[in-house]
Each structure stands twice: as C-alpha cells, then as structure tokens.
C-alpha cells in the first residue's frame, strides 16, 4: 500500500520509486492465464508456439501491464489513479528453470517513471507520469503513462 503523497510535494521531473519484478516463470504465466481467463496457447503451450518458429512461450502483455500497475500503486494510492495507458513494444520470454542464471535477465521486469506534467482538471490537482517497463537486458516491454489526482495539504 502506498503512503499518502501530496500534490505540493511532487515536482515535474520527479522519479517514481523503481520497481523490479521477480523473474517471470512459466508458472507465473499459467497463474495469470487462469486468473485473467486469457488461455491463448501462445502463453503456455510450447508445442503450439514452435509450430510458428518461436522458441518458447511469451508472457501476456496484460501481465506486464498488471505488474506495472503494481509498481504504480506501491507509489500512489489506488483511489488517486484516474487513467493508465500503455503501448506494448516487446515480448517477454519467461526464464528457464533449467538455466535460471542465464535466462532470468530477460524475464525480470523493471518499472520506472517520471512526472511530466502537473495540472488542474475536474476540480482536482493531477499529475501525469510517463512510465516504462524494461527487462534486465534493456529490452523495452511497454511504454505509457498514468494520471493521478493527488490531495493538497
């Protein structure tokens, strides 16, 4: 849960706290498939993806967006969140348990962001923060932004 943050305490350019996920495994993908109802075999069945020349399954984009939402709500309160949008730019392959040391970097997601705007809208004081989710090899998974309405002192 986030601590209360006040509009006056935020400046343009401020960074949100950096968040780093656990290395994603196939078990995380299966758990997300069940929770979300997205059973596209692309995300769990290697006999499916190899038919199309892909070496292994890939994570749901919406799982990466969900992980990003966690990063946001560990900084600002859920009730402050007004808008959250992302553009998916890269696929995420899970780590292989048989070779975790050499494969965990591609499956570890770091979320960062910076405040780019402070403005008043709908009688609220709002901030816009641009965000990105990147793996430990530098591969960009998504870019986007969120808008939060913050309380004043």
């Amino acid at each position: 849960m986030a601590k209360e943050i006040y509009f006056e305490d935020i400046n343009i350019g401020d960074a949100m706290p950096t968040f780093t996920s656990d290395p994603l495994t196939r078990t995380h993908l299966v758990r997300y498939a069940g929770a979300s109802g997205d059973f596209n075999p692309l995300h769990h069945d290697e006999t499916f993806v190899t038919m199309f020349g892909m070496p292994r399954v890939i994570a749901h984009g919406m799982l990466i967006m969900g992980i990003t939402s966690r990063a946001i709500t560990e900084w600002i309160d859920n009730k402050c969140l007004k808008n959250f949008k992302v553009r998916f730019s890269g696929m995420t392959e899970p780590a292989d348990l048989s070779d975790i040391e050499n494969t965990k970097a591609r499956a570890t997601i770091t979320v960062t962001g910076n405040v780019v705007k402070k403005f008043a809208e709908g009688g609220e004081n709002r901030i816009q923060c641009d965000i990105q989710a990147v793996d430990a090899l530098g591969g960009v998974k998504l870019t986007g932004s969120f808008i939060a309405a913050l309380p004043s002192k």
Partner: protein
C-alpha cells in the same frame, strides 16, 4: 487489409459478477505470489480497504481485463467476429480511465464497440501492412454507474 465495414460494430453486452476470491486470485497473479498475505491488503481485507477510504475490498487496476474473457467465453468470439488471424494477433495498446471502484458482489456489465480500423505500411516491408482495430468499452456496475472506460488496440502483424 482491415475490414473497415466492422467500424461501428457493437458486441453483445457481457456481465461478470465480481467475487472476492477472483480479486485475490488476480492480484496474486500480478504480484507473482502464491499467498494472499504477500499482496496488498486492499485486495483481500475489507478492514484494510475501509481504512484506506473504500467501502470494501477493491480490485486491482487491470482486473477488468478478465470480465470479457471469462464472461463471453474467452478471446475466440471476438476474434471470429472480427475475422482476426490468431497467429498474427498482437495486443498493441490498452488504456483505462477510472471513474469508480470495483468491489466484491458488484455485477459489472461491459459494452464494447469497434471505433476505428486502419492500416499502416510496415517500415521494413514496403507493400505489407499491419492492421489495427480499436475497441472501446464502457463498464458499468449494477447501479448503472460508469466505473471504467477502456480503449484497446489490437494489431494484426
């Protein structure tokens, strides 16, 4: 090329009853955890949610993604209605506007509409096109209150 006759197509509304256990399951999935004690108590504990100013447990910011998937039989009805080739399908963009909270026991109804379809030539393959379909959805609760507006962009590569 994208079948632009599908612009304006409205899908049958879908209804999803929000269960406390589903919220916890979804939250554990995005937290990569196996135990409810390891995630934000806003998603599992009524008292903690009330202390944070909510009337009950709330759902995580992307929870509504499961409504259409569970309520209307997964991705296939959408894919078939739009003549999308599953193998070429990518999720391009997703946007949510939040107008209210989702709580256990809420009965959420989503209405989706195709609002745009367009092509973009591939930079590396002249003459080949990526096809984009934009779907907007309004999600209301059992009191008719608009809670989430979403905008999804699907891409056929």
């Amino acid at each position: 090329m994208a079948d632009k006759s599908k612009i304006g197509l409205e899908f049958a509304p879908y209804t999803f009853e929000v269960e406390k256990g589903k919220i916890a399951e979804f939250a554990m999935a995005i937290y990569q955890k196996e135990n409810k004690d390891q995630i934000s108590p806003l998603y599992t504990n009524r008292e903690a949610a009330q202390n944070a100013g909510f009337k009950d447990i709330i759902a995580p910011p992307t929870f509504q993604t499961c409504f259409a998937l569970w309520a209307s039989g997964g991705l296939m009805p959408l894919i078939q209605a739009l003549n999308i080739n599953l193998i070429r399908l990518l999720h391009g963009e997703e946007e949510y506007s939040y107008l209210g909270a989702i709580h256990p026991g809420d009965i959420m109804t989503g209405k989706s509409k195709v609002v745009d379809m367009y092509d973009k030539e591939k930079k590396d393959k002249p003459g080949k096109f990526m096809e984009f379909t934009v779907i907007e959805t309004e999600i209301r609760n059992q009191r008719g209150e608009l809670i989430i507006k979403s905008r999804s962009t699907l891409v056929e590569r």
